[in-house]
Symmetry: C2
Subunit: 201 residues, 2 copies
DNA sequence: ACCATTTACATACATGGTGTATGTATGTTA
DNA sequence: TAACATACATACACCATGTATGTAAATGGT
């Protein structure tokens, strides 16, 4: 029985992967630690050693999912030069990433309830939210949203995107829900001038 | 031991009140049925008789809170004649009502996680959401939001309002968070023409 | 008015799930 | 190589929900 550092890391990673699947499929409440450790091939001892308790495990999973989405958004947004176009691309990238089952259930639905809204909010702020607020501030300096509070706008937009992602994910696969939502964003943010990324209308 | 119909209704109502307090203060997961029934002066039998299980009890509480907020929004919105002004008043009324602890914790945070997003969404649709969508459709007929999908806009706005309420509630009491959010709404929905309800700027 | 049935609970128990205390073998460090 | 820390395994305590069962009162039909 060898238990080197790398073995330990692999155990932790495997537990994280299995936990992520179970939290996604069954939700936090119905996800069983015993089932998770069994599927990961270890016992409860390993799980509690690495993550302290169920909430600690969940929090780690949340951070991982958030980081994934954040990278996606950053990468897509950086493909443009114009700040407003960056924002639009970022919003689209977020919606595309957030409709994934893991993001929906873990991040958007269970996250706030399990961790508490404040903790969840702080975690989100350190990832996606912060970039969103910076981008909106930048845009305001360029003349957009004259006189409106950037923090208020940031939270407004963030909430809108979260709920929209949940709605889009629930629509039939061939629906244009994501495109429709992007149209809403374009209309509200830019007064419907150009920038429509698709050919409609 | 008298157990008439009215006694039964009163028992159910008392349980609902106590449950609402406990769900608000401790959240769904940490709210204990035993503590609730003890505080209501009955046993677990009464609770399970009236509400089936913990989730059933919670769902009833959610419906009650939703109904309260819905009434508030409807009443305030109906104070205006102009459809856009009705929308604005409705949004403000929602924000003012949704910052209450019970609304935040039960409706906005725990609701989707406990009931599942789809169930929660359907319940919300039968209350506030439906009116919002109707109002937005009406406005579109009047020339607002040309070409945008009303369902998409409805969900976008709904999510924005929910998150904004949570944000506002968390700000220091003397902050202008609610007013700032209203400014955001006015700016995005109406391109910042008039309708500012306060004297700023 | 009386019987059958339903209602409105109380009580007791089965079950499952988390957390924690303890044990133990291995790796690591001085 | 001795001491300590790490990485788990095992066993158990402890709630908390849910369910089965019991029971007294209310209700409804005849």
């Amino acid at each position: 029985m060898r238990r080197k550092k790398e073995d330990s890391l692999e155990t932790a990673a495997r537990l994280l992967d299995v936990a992520r699947e179970h939290f996604t499929e069954h939700g936090y409440a119905k996800a069983s630690m015993e089932v998770i450790v069994a599927e990961a091939g270890v016992t409860r001892g390993a799980l509690y050693h690495h993550y302290g308790n169920k909430q600690g495990l969940f929090e780690t999973v949340v951070a991982a999912v958030q980081a994934e989405i954040g990278e996606n958004v950053e990468r897509e947004a950086s493909r443009a030069e114009d700040p407003m176009e960056q924002l639009i691309l970022g919003c689209r990238a977020f919606l595309e990433a957030a409709v994934a089952p893991a993001a929906r259930r873990i991040l958007l639905v269970d996250g706030p309830a399990v961790l508490g809204w404040e903790v969840w909010r702080r975690m989100d702020e350190e990832n996606a939210m912060r970039h969103l607020e910076e981008q909106l501030g930048l845009l305001q300096e360029k003349g957009y949203f004259p006189g409106v509070s950037v923090p208020a706008l940031t939270h407004f937009l963030s909430g809108a995107l979260n709920e929209s992602a949940l709605w889009i994910a629930q629509q039939p696969g061939d629906s244009r829900a994501l495109e429709d939502t992007m149209e809403v964003i374009l209309h509200l943010l830019k007064l419907k001038t150009s920038y429509t990324t698709d050919s409609r209308r």
